[in-house]
């Protein structure tokens, strides 16, 4: 985007500012051509701030300014920055935000750069993780670190309950939970499944091959047999008293409760490797470990592909420099360094051969799991859909509705949420059909070039912007 373009778009949004952006305005940014602005969240922001020094030394003339943003405000801040025309050149983005940012046309496709790159090989990345960055055949971000969910458990309590190895299948898992529950007694539980997290029911459903959405992500598919079966399995853990059914408020301190044996299994993510090692009492350290998710038949069962990526703003005038920084941070050695500092797991297989990762059995469970991860639907509405899953699952857990009612209500809600998406897809198809009738040859050409579509969208956006100005 040239400066004039951006001003035009900015002007349009200022007219639109009546609606949202009025207070944000369209600030002009420092026209320093050599300073790459990078937004990173929380601890990652802190660590990357220390890592860019060496990058600046090895890339003379390029400067990096890191801005640290708290996780809780990050999503909002990115969107308001986009509306206000104050986007950074490069930023860390949660994988599930990418679809939304693509809908805003805010991201630079990285396919060509990836193909040209000497240091980055696509097939070195865990495929499920890389796939979360691919939307409509374009790669919009490069995974920075990965996140998934698997089992953390107390091996001592499991042994006391008569089981040595981690459960491999649902049947074994269910049996192990039952035995643990019997061993620990009535006022303790076998597993902690935080009610406000959508991950566990979704992971179980993915393991059975549930699509979650159907018909090109235009309708909810939660009444499907696969989702229903997974949902029943999930609810059963509450119904049988294996999991405490209260919200987060009851478990004030996960670490204290895990140490005290209030629950023995916990489905959670890599950040807890560090937290458990740090917060559990020293004498308990040999007694906890991790295992890949049990699957319907065998482990590892599919889990959810999460994490954060680095993405380049489409309107940035410093894309080349930003890309150099991406390449620098994607280097396996740097990723191991990053892992040491943050505990964030690297997305490249080659980084996992480093001793720091390969010698740690608890971390290796993640290595196994990462080969079996799947992305959630890559549409902007997903997070909202996930919040509805939580809502209806909670009602079912509390028993205020039946499973049938909960799933029907969930499908109804999700269909309503996706109405706009259906309308936009239909409109796009109608336009394509109209064009096809006018000139069939041009249409076949367009089909082959998917970039065409985004270009058209940009043209329309600028058209609207120009009208707004006039």
């Amino acid at each position: 985007m040239t400066d004039a373009d951006r001003r035009a778009a900015c002007g349009g949004r200022a007219a639109l500012g009546l609606l949202v952006a009025v207070a944000l305005g369209c600030g002009s940014r420092a026209a320093d051509d050599r300073t790459v602005e990078l937004w990173a969240m929380g601890r990652e922001g802190e660590v990357v701030g220390r890592m860019v020094g060496e990058f600046e030394r090895s890339h003379p003339g390029v400067h990096v300014r890191v801005q640290q943003i708290p996780w809780s405000a990050a999503h909002e801040k990115l969107l308001t920055a986009y509306v206000g025309g104050a986007m950074p050149d490069l930023f860390q983005a949660g994988n599930t935000w990418l679809a939304e940012l693509v809908a805003l046309d805010a991201l630079e496709p990285l396919d060509d750069r990836l193909a040209r790159s000497s240091g980055i090989r696509r097939d070195d990345y865990f495929p499920g993780i890389l796939d979360t960055n691919v939307i409509a055949d374009h790669t919009y971000g490069l995974p920075w670190y990965v996140d998934t969910r698997l089992l953390f458990y107390r091996s001592d309590i499991l042994a006391r309950a008569g089981r040595r190895a981690a459960p491999q299948s649902w049947a074994e898992w269910s049996d192990a939970l039952q035995r643990v529950k019997q061993a620990v007694g009535a006022d303790r539980f076998a597993i902690l499944l935080p009610i406000q997290e959508w991950q566990t029911p979704v992971i179980l459903a993915m393991q059975l091959g549930a699509g979650l959405l159907r018909d090109r992500d235009r309708y909810g598919d939660f009444e499907s047999p696969a989702f229903r079966k997974a949902f029943e399995f999930y609810l059963d853990m509450f119904r049988r008293g294996l999991a405490p059914s209260a919200g987060a408020a009851t478990v004030a301190n996960v670490y204290q409760d895990f140490a005290g044996g209030y629950f023995s299994f916990y489905v959670t993510g890599p950040w807890n490797l560090g937290e458990f090692a740090q917060r559990l009492p020293p004498d308990l350290q040999p007694d906890w470990t991790t295992a890949p998710m049990p699957g319907p038949e065998r482990a590892p069962g599919t889990s959810v592909a999460g994490g954060a990526s680095l993405a380049i703003f489409r309107g940035s005038p410093r894309k080349e420099a930003a890309w150099q920084l991406v390449e620098y941070l994607a280097d396996p050695e740097r990723q191991v360094e990053f892992y040491r500092a943050t505990g964030d797991l690297p997305p490249r297989r080659s980084a996992w051969s480093a001793p720091a990762l390969s010698r740690d059995a608890r971390v290796q469970a993640f290595r196994v799991q990462l080969e079996a991860v799947r992305a959630t639907p890559k549409i902007p509405e997903w997070e909202q859909i996930a919040s509805r899953i939580v809502e209806h699952a909670e009602s079912a857990i509390r028993g205020s509705v039946t499973v049938d009612q909960a799933l029907a209500a969930l499908d109804r809600d999700v269909d309503l949420l996706l109405e706009k998406r259906r309308w936009m897809m239909q409109r796009r198809e109608q336009r394509r059909d109209a064009m096809e009738r006018r000139d069939p040859r041009r249409e076949t050409m367009e089909r082959r070039d998917p970039r065409r579509e985004t270009m058209e969208r940009r043209e329309r956006a600028h058209g609207a912007a120009a009208q707004g100005q006039g």
């Binding site: 349009g12 639109l16 009546l18 609606l19 949202v20 009025v22 909002e76 969107l79 986009y82 509306v83 939304e100 809908a103 805003l104 046309d105 009610i195 406000q196 209260a246 919200g247 987060a248 408020a249 009851t250 004030a252 902007p380 997070e383 909202q384 809502e391 909670e394 009602s395 509390r398 205020s400 309503l416 706009k420 309308w423 936009m424 969208r457 329309r460 956006a461 058209g463 609207a464 912007a465 707004g468």
Partner: protein, 306 residues
Amino acid sequence: MELRRVPAGIWFVLPAVVLIGLFFVVPVAASLLLSLTDFDIYSIASLANLRLVGLMNYRRLLQDPRFATALWNTFYFVVVGGPLSIAVSLGAALLLSSRLVRWRGLLRTVLFLPVVTTLVAVAVVWRALYQPRYGMLNRLLAVIGVSPIDWLGDPRWAMPAIILLALWKNFGFNMIIFVAGLQSIPERLYEAARLDGASRWAELRFVTLPMLAPTFVFVTIITLIGYFQLFAEPYVMTQGGPADRTLSVVLLMYEEGFRWWNMGYAAAVAFVLFGIILTVTSVQLLVRRAEGLGGTSAGAGRSAAR
């Protein structure tokens, strides 16, 4: 030359009018327009994705079970929490004005402290108090034989827990207003009452309360408006849970607007809430005025209404 003919008064009000126009009238008009569209994340990308939907947002709102829940919760909070808060404020004010109490200045400061404390800090402490297994509140209740309550996790108890917190946090403000109201009651009225042989209860019933009527009108309206806009307490304590039992209308609006970027829908929520508050306060004023015209505090009631 032309400018001289403009009355001087215009120049005095102009800055205020411009500011109010720019920062109040324009945004309100814009959000009214917004509520008639389906403005969302796609519309931020391109205005071509914006549809004028007329009253669709309002129709959807009426059918949205979450909005019904939010409305119910908000009314619950207002109807239970509002009177309770006013009663406690009045009680505290009477206590502070009583000649029997020593260290009045200190007590007033202490009781007012929650009002000036940051809610986020308060929330941390109250979450600890409410913790079902280690929390102080349940331990105290255990002493008198009450079995533990999952204050913030049990759908039946979450709203009472929020009300209790809001009560503690906010009663100091109304208390100060009541104290001021009490101080403006002339001492001679009490003297006259005592000469007539009135008991302390009769003094309260026939002197204090009628004389406080204008203060009451003010306090009730301010409290009602404030309580209808319940947001921060559930936002920091429960995020609307468990099972949406502490989801308030404003929290729903915030979620729709700034979490999901359904700005059109959020604007519709805002206007419905505005309508409700306007209706309730108007009804209340009308009732007060009708009452006031018949009673002794007619003048006082009317002056407060103005």
